[in-house]
Symmetry: C2
Subunit: 353 residues, 2 copies
DNA sequence: GTTGGCAGACCCCGGGGCCGAGTGCCAGCG
DNA sequence: CGCTGGCACTCGGCCCCGGGGTCTGCCAAC
C-alpha cells in the first residue's frame, strides 16, 4: 500500500530477487500446465532454499501487489495480466532474444509464393502453425508506393476494368461503370492520358491527379474519365481492410481457457476486418514486437486474450501478429513473431527491388 | 424388414401419410428447439386425432426404418440423417420453393462491389449472415475465360510482374524471377509479342501458347520468355484454391450441438482451402442446390454437418454454399442459397457483359 | 526473517435418492 | 385389426452429502 500507482517499471523494481524467482516459477509453470500453482510446487521449481511457508508469505505479498491471483480460497495462484507483463517487459529489455525458427521457415515462406498476396497468405499460415495461435497479417498501406502501371481494359461496351499496379507488386483493380457505350479507340486514348499523367506518382495521390485530369479534359474524354475518378475515390488504401489474413482459428477452439461464448465472441471479432486492421495498425514502430496483454487490449471482447504484433517495413509498413489466450509462452511467441516478421520483410524486398 | 435396402425413393413411398406427418413434426420441432421430441409433443404439433400411445407405435416403426433415433432409452426422438433426407427430397421435388430474401439482398450484394473478388467476399458475408451458418464461396474456374490483356511490368532489374486479365474481370498475377537483369526495351518487346500471340485465347491454353513461343523465339527473347512460361505453368486455375471465401465461423461456436473437439476439427477443415474447393466442386450441375447430410458427406470430420451448395454459372461455373450442423432448417437454407446464387450470377453477368 | 504445525476453506468426485419425461407393452374396446 | 388408456420401467438430470486432497493463512517458536 506504500505506493499503489507506481508506474510499471518502478513497481517492478520493488520486487526483490526472491519474489521475482517465485513469480517466474508461477508464470512458467502455469503456462506449461494450465493449473494453479501452489507454494510447494514453487519451492521445487524455483529451487529455493526456503520452506513452503516462507514462499506462502511471499506469494501473499505478490498477490497484494497485483501480480498473481487465486481463483478461489485454497487454490494455487495464477498470474494476472500484470504478472505476465512483468516478464514481457523483462524480455523486451534483453537485447538478444531466444532464437525463433530459421531454416524451414525460410523454405516455407519463400517456397514459391506467386505474388504478394500469396506471400502474405503463406505468412499467416506459417505463423499460426508455428505458434498454434491465431495469426493476423495485414498488407502494407499503399499510399507511399509508386504507381508503376495504370491500365484500362474494357470488359463490355459499358464496363471496364481499371488496373493499378504499384512498384511493390500490389495490384488494385476496380470495375468501372462507364454509363454509356464507348469505343475501343476512346479507351485507348484515356489509357494513354492516364499513363502519361499519373505513372510514377504515389498511390495516395492518384485520385486527386485523375480528378484534376477530369476538370481539364476535353468533353468527350471527360465522360469517360469521370467514372474512373470516382472509382479511385475513397482511399485506395482503405481497401487494405479486405487484405487481413487470418489463420489458425481452430487453435482457439482447442484452448480450454475459453468459455463457449467467449470463443464465439472472439471468432466474431476475427471476421470484422475493420477492427482487426485498426488493432494491428496500433503496433509500435520499433523493431520490438508490441505486446498487449488481457485488459491492456483496447477492444472489448479481447480482454481475455493477448496480442503480440510487429511491424514489417517495405516502402511503407504493414504489420503482423498472433492472438491467443493470455496464458501463452511469451518468450517463444515473441521470438517467432519477430523471426517471421523479419523473414517476411526480407522476402518482400527481394521481390520488389 | 420386408425390404431393407430399398433405394431412397422407394423407401419413401412406403411411409403412409400418418407416419409422414409424425416424421415432419419431429423434424420441424427438433430443428426449432434442439431437444428430443416425445410422443405427446408430436400429437400436439401434428394435430393428430389419435392418442400418444398410437404415435408411440408409429415412432417405433419409424425408428426401425431408420428415420429417427433416440439418444437414450426414455428420451424423445431425434431425426437421423435419413429423416432429414426424406424432407429434403420432398423439397427438391416441389417446383416452387419458399422465397428467399430479396430486396435487401440485392442492395447489399450489388452495393458497391469494387471488383469480382470483392463481390465474392461480400456474397460470402451475406450468405453467412442470412443463414447464420458457415458460408463458402468459390470463384469460377478460369479455364474457359478469354484472355483480355497480358502485361509485363518490371518491378526491379531482375523481377517483373506478369498480369493476366480475363474477360470475366478476374486478374491473375505472378512475380517472375528473370534470373538476369533486362532492359526496359526487352520487356517492351516481350510484352508486344505476348499480347500479339495470346490475347483472346482461353486462359487454359495460355501456358501452352507461351511455351510454344519460347521454342520459336530468337535467343535473346528466349531467356526472358522462359521464366514467364514457367510462371504460368502449374494450372493457372489451381490458383483458385486460394479464392475460397469463408465466412461466419463464429456461428459454429454458438452451436451447442457440437462438442468442443468436433468444433475444433471442423474449424481446422475450414482452413484447408484445397479440401473446401474439392468439396464445393462436387456440386450438382442442375439449378437445384445439392444437399449432403451428415454421413453422406465425403469428408471425414464433417459427418455431423450438412452442406448445402449450388453452382452459379458465368463463362464457366463456380459454386457456393453453407455448412452447418445437420440440424438446420433445410427449407429456408435451400431457399436462401438458391436466391443468393441467383443474385450472384446476375450481378456477375451485369459486370462483364 | 524463517520455520513447522495446524485449522480451515474449498474443489472435485462419487454415491444415493428423487423427480420427471418418455418409452414399451399389454389387455381391452370398438 | 387398429386404437386406446394404463402401467411398469428406464434413464438422465439434479440436488445433496460426505470423503479425500490440496493449498492457504495464521501462529507460536526458533
Amino acid at each position: 500500500m506504500a505506493g499503489p500507482d507506481l508506474a510499471r517499471d518502478d513497481a517492478r523494481d520493488l520486487l526483490d530477487d526472491r519474489k521475482v524467482r517465485i513469480l517466474r516459477a508461477i508464470v512458467s509453470e502455469y503456462v506449461a500446465t494450465g493449473e494453479p500453482i501452489g507454494s510447494k510446487r514453487v519451492v521445487e521449481v524455483a529451487k529455493l532454499d526456503v520452506s513452503a511457508a516462507t514462499v506462502r508469505n511471499e506469494m501473499s505479498a505478490l498477490e497484494e501487489l497485483g501480480y498473481i491471483h487465486q481463483p478461489h480460497t485454497s487454490a494455487g495462484r495464477i498470474p494476472t495480466d500484470r504478472g505476465y507483463r512483468y516478464f514481457v517487459d523483462e524480455l523486451s529489455e534483453m537485447t538478444k532474444m531466444p532464437d525463433g525458427p530459421r531454416a524451414e521457415l525460410v523454405q516455407e515462406l519463400l517456397g514459391g509464393a506467386r505474388d504478394v498476396e500469396d506471400l502474405l497468405f503463406r505468412t499467416s499460415t506459417v505463423l499460426s502453425q508455428l505458434t498454434r495461435l491465431v495469426s493476423l497479417v495485414i498488407a502494407p498501406a499503399m499510399d507511399a508506393a509508386r504507381l508503376k502501371l495504370i491500365e484500362l481494359v474494357s470488359l463490355s461496351p459499358q464496363t471496364a476494368l481499371l488496373l493499378l499496379v504499384a512498384d511493390t507488386g500490389r495490384v488494385e483493380k476496380r470495375v468501372v461503370d462507364l454509363r454509356e457505350p464507348v469505343t475501343d479507340a476512346d479507351v485507348e486514348r484515356v489509357r494513354t492520358v492516364l499513363m502519361e499523367h499519373v505513372r510514377g506518382h504515389r498511390m495516395g495521390e492518384v485520385h486527386d491527379l485523375i480528378q484534376g485530369l477530369v476538370d481539364g479534359a476535353p468533353s468527350e474524354l471527360r465522360t469517360l474519365l469521370a467514372p474512373i475518378a470516382e472509382a479511385t475515390a475513397g482511399n485506395l488504401t482503405e481497401e487494405a481492410i479486405h487484405h487481413v489474413y487470418v489463420g489458425g482459428q481452430a487453435s482457439l477452439a482447442g484452448e480450454p481457457t475459453f468459455e463457449r461464448d467467449q470463443l464465439s465472441q472472439v471468432l466474431e471479432l476475427l471476421e470484422e476486418r475493420m477492427t482487426l486492421a485498426r488493432l494491428l495498425s496500433e503496433t509500435g514502430d520499433d523493431d520490438q514486437p508490441t505486446v498487449r496483454i488481457g485488459e491492456e487490449n483496447p477492444v472489448e471482447g479481447l480482454r481475455t486474450t493477448s496480442l503480440v504484433s510487429q511491424r514489417y517495413r517495405l516502402v511503407s509498413s504493414g504489420s503482423l501478429g498472433v492472438l491467443g489466450p493470455t496464458r501463452m509462452d511469451y518468450a517463444s511467441v515473441l521470438a517467432t513473431v519477430r523471426a517471421v516478421a523479419g523473414q517476411l520483410q526480407e522476402t518482400l524486398t527481394d521481390l520488389s527491388e
